[in-house]
């Protein structure tokens, strides 16, 4: 299918608003008469509140209210579960009792006339606790490992244990990936304003429809009484998928004081209650024949969760379909800890699971003496052997080919510690990336105006990938307009419902809905033209007409045809259509749908002091159609940088005595800065997937990060001969080589 606007490297339509500071994020929507709320966080990891010294605090300058469980209203907390909420367990109910379940849990709100006054009062709060010892160390032997209550934890085909036991060549190792925090640049923020029993929230959210429904449930309101507005998100990476306690607290505080209230979490509080990538402990065992055919795969993983909810992620899922092997067993368990509930972080589950699997496959390649890419070629499946279905498309081997050529893989000498640049050890490593091509039901509205321009609306979000721009391109494409003739709006619950902005499914879901609405708009315009006695296509059959570049004419006719303006001039009324789209259930049943990619890393390691630098990363991806290559490359290289963080830097360290994150600070939670950026290249193989959705897009937000950490770890092994199975890789890990 010929595309005019889709596939073009347009710069961002919202670029101007972002570079001028005019883009407004949640905390930028100051309201008249607004007060400021600051949360007081528990300083013990488990126990009960026994005392609150409030008299002094309430008399402090500017303080309007102090709200604790003692004076907070009992909230309705009606049953509410969105797809994004854990299937088992119940969300934290805030300020409803005296219990403390984890370090940093909100225990009080100060409302004051300025940020400084609220912060000063919060700092002056004296709270006493009856504290108990929390258990926060996932590796602690006394931690119970439970089978998740969701029923899909374990899978098996053949006899993996016997196959591995009998195999001529084996790898059997354990992997440990640290807890990470999303740390988007924008802290969570909510401004809440009540008008009677109607509530408006300017709130950072990747899932407006759920935030609306959840807050309605928490306060016992009709859903329509809650409006959520969020035109811009300052990065999120999953942390804003759920509606966390601070949203409830902002609304509660605003109702308590009868004025709008702004609540912005501190950076430290971003480590407490807004989710994290759970630490994972994994075992991967591989068995193979001497010529490199994998005969058995065992993948056992344990994630962590809170005591009150079971957060699950796809930790072992990729192992089911990545390699051809008759004997595969995967197992997933949860360690229940005294922490807040984790949540999805970019490439959730897959990014952690694939580190273990792709490290093990790399290790196997050395044991076999087979090139790592060749080993993957020898074990490339023809179908998804777990589901016994064909892949809708799978370009993994093409990705390896394209990436290897660009990267210069042929220059790699296989022996560890065999490559040097001066005194530095050089290593080259590779790993596979994959992520499901999801598609959720979505809707969108398209309004074609009499002036021939269009307005497009959906309650979607844009946390940075460029939703504003790419959706504008989709609408322009299917209406036959120029992007400048389309205005796309998102970020309010007043617009048609969409799924969450996560899971790499925004373009598949919202884009397909926009396409459907545009096609219906065009069809209605055609019918109006046919019905118009003054029109050159009067009484023509629909089939005899065609739209070319936004103009309607008879097939084969060389005349310029009718523009939308020509057609709408008759009535002067706009055409407005609410469209929707979802994946065809039959197609969903028939195909296994995933993106694939190959990531290549070159590192240098100082042999004396163990410092590791990533020098180059090349990622080649098969992600179906690329709507905007400029933005897609940027998203991919950004994901790779996130992968550098996962591989070499990011780790939230908990004090086992009380569960306190000891490095809850952006200088102590290490993440890549500009100077850490290596030469980065993102490539896309030409992949046509007619099955995933009408746009043929598979999404790329998550796969951009998945695969980078194992590629780097494999390069570190190649450089040093030291196999590091813990993330992040630290200096001491390679110094003990």
């Amino acid at each position: 299918m010929k595309m005019n606007v889709i596939g073009k490297p347009l710069t961002r339509v919202d670029g101007r608003s972002k570079v001028t500071g005019k883009a407004r994020y949640a905390a930028d929507f100051n309201q008249p008469g607004q007060l400021y709320a600051v949360l007081v966080s528990a300083t013990v990891g488990l126990g009960r509140l026994t005392g609150i010294e409030s008299a002094d605090v309430e008399g402090m300058s500017g303080v309007v209210a102090l709200i604790t469980h003692r004076n907070a209203p009992k909230l309705a907390y009606l049953p509410h579960k969105a797809v994004i909420d854990p299937a088992v367990g119940e969300r934290l109910h805030v300020l409803q009792d005296d219990s403390v379940r984890f370090y940093g849990q909100p225990v009080a709100i100060i409302v004051a006339d300025s940020i400084d006054h609220a912060e000063r009062a919060a700092a002056a709060m004296r709270i006493t606790y009856d504290a108990r010892q929390p258990i926060v160390d996932h590796a602690d032997q006394q931690v119970a490992r439970i089978v998740p209550g969701t029923g899909t934890a374990d899978r098996s085909r053949g006899d993996a244990d016997a196959a591995v036991a009998e195999a001529a060549v084996k790898v059997d190792e354990v992997y440990d990936i640290a807890r990470e925090n999303h740390n988007p640049m924008e802290p969570h923020a909510t401004i809440a304003a009540w008008h009677g029993d109607r509530l408006t929230l300017w709130s950072k959210s990747q899932f407006l429809m759920n935030e609306q429904a959840e807050i309605a449930a928490v306060f016992g309101l009709p859903v329509d009484n809650v409006e959520v507005i969020c035109p811009f998100i300052g990065g999120a990476f999953g942390t804003s998928l759920r509606t966390w306690p601070h949203v409830t607290l902002a609304a509660l505080a605003a109702r308590h004081v009868g004025r709008p209230v702004k609540l912005v979490l501190t950076r430290k509080q971003m480590f407490f209650t807004t989710g994290h990538r759970p630490r994972s402990l994994q075992r991967v065992a591989l068995g193979a024949t001497p010529d490199g055919k994998i005969t058995g795969v065992i993948h056992e993983g344990t994630g962590e969760t809170s005591r009150y909810e079971q957060f699950t992620e796809a930790l072992t899922a990729v192992t089911d379909y990545l390699y051809s092997c008759p004997n595969v067993r995967t197992q997933y368990r949860l360690a229940q800890l005294d922490t807040a509930t984790p949540n999805h972080m970019r490439g959730p589950g897959e990014a952690s699971g694939i580190f273990a699997l792709e490290s093990a496959v790399d290790e196997l390649s050395y044991k076999l003496g087979v090139d790592p890419i060749e080993l993957r070629r020898r074990n490339e499946p023809q179908i998804d052997e777990a589901e016994n279905k064909p892949f809708s498309s799978r370009s993994l081997i093409q990705c390896y080919g394209l990436g290897a050529e660009r990267f210069g893989w042929v220059r790699r000498t296989p022996e560890p510690r065999s490559m040097r640049d001066g005194r530095l050890l050089i290593g080259m490593g590779t790993a596979t990336a994959t992520y499901p091509a999801f598609h959720a039901p979505s809707s969108a509205r398209v309004r074609l105006l009499a002036d021939g321009t269009a307005e497009v609306e959906a309650a979607a979000s844009d946390m940075g990938p460029g939703t504003y721009t790419s959706m504008t391109q989709v609408a322009a494409e299917f209406l036959g307009l120029q992007p400048e003739q389309v205005r796309f709006g998102l970020g309010t619950t007043d617009y048609p419902p969409t799924p969450s902005h996560g899971g790499s499914w925004t373009m598949a879901s919202v884009g397909s809905a926009i396409r459907a609405a545009c096609l219906e708009v065009q069809s209605q315009a055609t019918r109006q033209a046919i019905a118009d006695a003054g029109s050159p296509v009067f009484e023509a059959s629909m089939e005899a007409l065609e739209w070319v570049d936004g103009r309607l004419r008879r097939r084969g006719d060389a005349s310029p045809g009718l523009s939308y303006q020509d057609i709408l001039a008759k009535t002067g009324n706009p055409i407005e259509v609410d469209g929707s789209a979802q994946r065809d259930p039959e197609t969903a049943e028939k195909y296994s749908m995933h993106s694939f990619g190959a990531v290549f890393a070159e590192v240098s390691v100082d042999p004396d002091v163990g410092t590791i630098r990533v020098r180059r990363l090349v990622g080649a991806y098969g992600i179906g159609r690329v709507v905007n290559p400029l933005l897609a490359r940027s998203q991919c290289t950004g994901g790779m940088i996130g992968g550098i963080g996962m591989a070499l830097m990011e780790r939230t360290v908990l004090d086992v005595r009380d569960g306190r994150p000891v490095n809850a600070h952006m200088a102590d939670y290490l993440m890549p800065v500009n100077l850490d950026t290596p030469k980065l290249e993102a490539l896309f193989v030409d992949e046509v997937d007619p099955h995933v959705n009408p746009l043929g897009v598979k999404g790329l937000g998550e796969i951009a990060l998945v695969g980078t950490a194992p590629a780097i770890a494999n390069a570190v092994f190649h450089a040093t001969g030291k196999r590091v199975r813990t993330l992040p890789i630290k200096i001491e890990d390679v110094l003990t080589a």
Partner: protein, 202 residues
């Protein structure tokens, strides 16, 4: 990152991230400390009192009564209704709140407004000229130097400082001197390209 990344790309000087962070925004913030405190309006014993501060923001003169503990960042965002400058960490570690004070880049979250009586302040809102983007603003869009946009105001203000300081001799030098501004989306390649492009043209 940091301790395990102490060496620059290829041929650059040996520096750590911590040094890089200190060498950029932090050090300039310290250098910007005024020698004389601003005049206090009244000062009852033991009670902090509000202070009058005169400052020019984006070419407009303001006389403000501020709480002496208020940061310039909070004054800009909450008092002057200039929310383009962002609060990312409020601890001087992320650079999102970078502004120019008397032409020098500082992190406005670590700088008290009361210390800057008479200062000339420039924020992201003041860069456009008659509706024309500043070349660095345009370059950030053109080179895809942003994704979510939240760090962008700070990146651009820091980029202006970086260019004015002459720390733009090579991409590696730009990377070093722009490392006080974290971009969690990882738009660094575009940021480097945008700063280099404008530096070359100016």
């Amino acid at each position: 990152m940091a301790e395990n990344s102490s060496e620059m790309h290829s041929s650059g000087p040996i520096v750590s991230r911590r040094e890089a962070l200190q060498a950029t925004a932090g050090a300039v913030a310290l250098a910007a400390l005024p020698l004389q405190p601003a005049a206090a309006t009244s000062s009852p014993a033991g009670v902090s009192s509000d202070i009058a501060v005169a400052m020019t923001v984006n070419g407009r003169a303001h006389t403000l009564i501020v709480d002496p503990r208020q940061s310039i960042l909070d004054v800009l965002r909450e008092t002057l209704d200039l929310p383009g400058t962002k609060k990312g960490c409020n601890q001087g570690a992320c650079g999102a709140c970078t502004i120019l004070v008397d032409g020098k880049r500082i992190v406005s979250c670590l700088t008290l407004a009361s210390m800057h009586d008479g200062a000339d302040i420039q924020t992201i809102e003041g860069l456009e000229n008659d509706g024309e983007l500043h070349p660095l603003q345009a370059a950030f869009v053109e080179h895809e130097g942003l994704q979510c946009g939240f760090c962008t105001s700070g990146q651009i203000m820091s980029g202006l400082g970086c260019i004015a300081e002459g720390h733009v001799g090579s991409p590696e030098e730009i990377q070093f001197w722009m490392s006080g501004n974290i971009c969690r989306c990882g738009a660094y390649p575009g940021i480097i390209a945008a700063v280099a492009d404008v530096a070359e043209r100016s």
